[in-house]
Amino acid sequence: MMIGKLQETPSQTAGPYVHIGTAPQSIGRPPLTGQPGPRAEAEGERIIIEGTVFDGAGAPLRDAMLEIWQADSAGRVGAEGLFARCLADFDTGRYRFETVRPGPHREGQPAHVALLIFARGINLHLHTRIHFPEERERVAADPDLRRLEPEARETLIATQEAAGHYRFDVHLQGANETVFFDI
């Protein structure tokens, strides 16, 4: 076990006013230069991932911030990795990312998009993975996911709405609670 010399700064909720600092254009203020938005630019097959985060009563989170981080279409991370940020819609709670289909960054394993969720009531951001339905069998064999029950693993697989268009809903609680990772 690695013990650092310093202890990490604890996390606190992003709260309901996260837009001010992370996406001022979403509340009618001028955007900041270079601030990440919901679209990642890179070569490759363009895809859309959209969805909603639901609370334990089935209500959409309308104040969430979501971020994705993924390999590029060739599976490269680091400087070639792709990042995007989306604020849930104030009325519907929908989020929508436009990106490219990631290549696998782990040899022989299915590709995924890492998704972080920040919101009021979430003290430490939640980390989950978006997998693609075309790779369902490889997802089942992924050494990181093998220990999960099949129904739990299913929460990590997006639904195809149309070619290159996926839906990935997140359930914070309930029978189909999404699997969240401790990385």
Partner: protein
């Protein structure tokens, strides 16, 4: 703790199943290079960056410190985004209906990038406390929200800093989602008189420690295995 009944919003939003522990891959060990973002000259100066002809009202302060990892290694080039209420405790946000007035010269939005030694600096006004609907009318201590991108996606941190001596800190249900008093203390910025700007503004120091490579799930494994 994810579920903290004193903080009502966690009741329906905290996952109830344990997190699924996995080893970090090359994806989580790298992260977006947002420290290369071209910042505006006033992005770190919240007293001036939304000014409409005058400075923002309130107690003028520097908030500064160093971004480090758990091995006390400075983290250079870290993007820090902040947001906060104005001196009266009101956010410049469409969803904030608190009766305290807006300040036309203050948006509460700032950002900066840590330098080669991990140091960062903001100039702002001290935010006011404000009431919020939780257990009736709870009050938030004065605080600034921070979002930090270190070198790795696994280091991603969103948190809040508080101010030394604020009597509202121990009363706050959001602060008290952290069970360890020593951990709460790490969220308290310290008054630093030596770094004041004489006849201009006070200074508060707040160092930020980002998590290192996480191996605690495998602590039964011998070192180096």
């Amino acid at each position: 703790m994810p579920l903290s009944p004193g903080y009502k919003s966690t009741v329906l939003r905290a996952p109830l199943r344990p997190l699924h522990a996995v080893e970090q891959s090359a994806l989580e060990r790298s992260g977006p290079a947002l420290g290369n973002t071209a910042l505006g000259p006033l992005d770190h100066d919240l007293i001036r960056n939304a000014a409409q002809g005058g400075d923002a009202l309130g107690e003028r302060i520097y908030v500064f410190g160093q971004v480090l990892d758990e091995n006390a290694r400075p983290v250079p080039n870290a993007l820090i985004e902040i947001w906060q209420a104005n001196a009266a405790g009101r956010y410049a946000h469409v969803k904030d209906g608190y009766l305290a007035p807006l300040d036309p010269n203050f948006s509460g939005c700032g950002r900066c990038v840590s330098d080669g030694e991990g140091r960062y600096l903001f100039r702002t006004i001290k935010p006011g406390p404000y009431p919020w609907p939780n257990n009736g009318s709870d009050w938030r201590p004065a605080h600034i929200h921070l979002s930090i991108f270190g070198e790795a996606f696994a280091q991603r941190l969103v948190t809040q800093l508080y101010f030394e001596g604020d009597p509202l800190i121990p009363l706050c249900p959001i602060v008290n989602t952290i069970p360890d008093p020593a951990a709460i203390d790490r969220l308290v910025a310290r008054l630093d008189m030596r770094n004041q700007e004489p006849f201009d503004c006070l200074a508060y120091r707040f160092d930020i420690v980002l998590r290192g490579r996480r191996q605690t799930h495998f602590e039964t494994r011998p070192e180096g295995a």
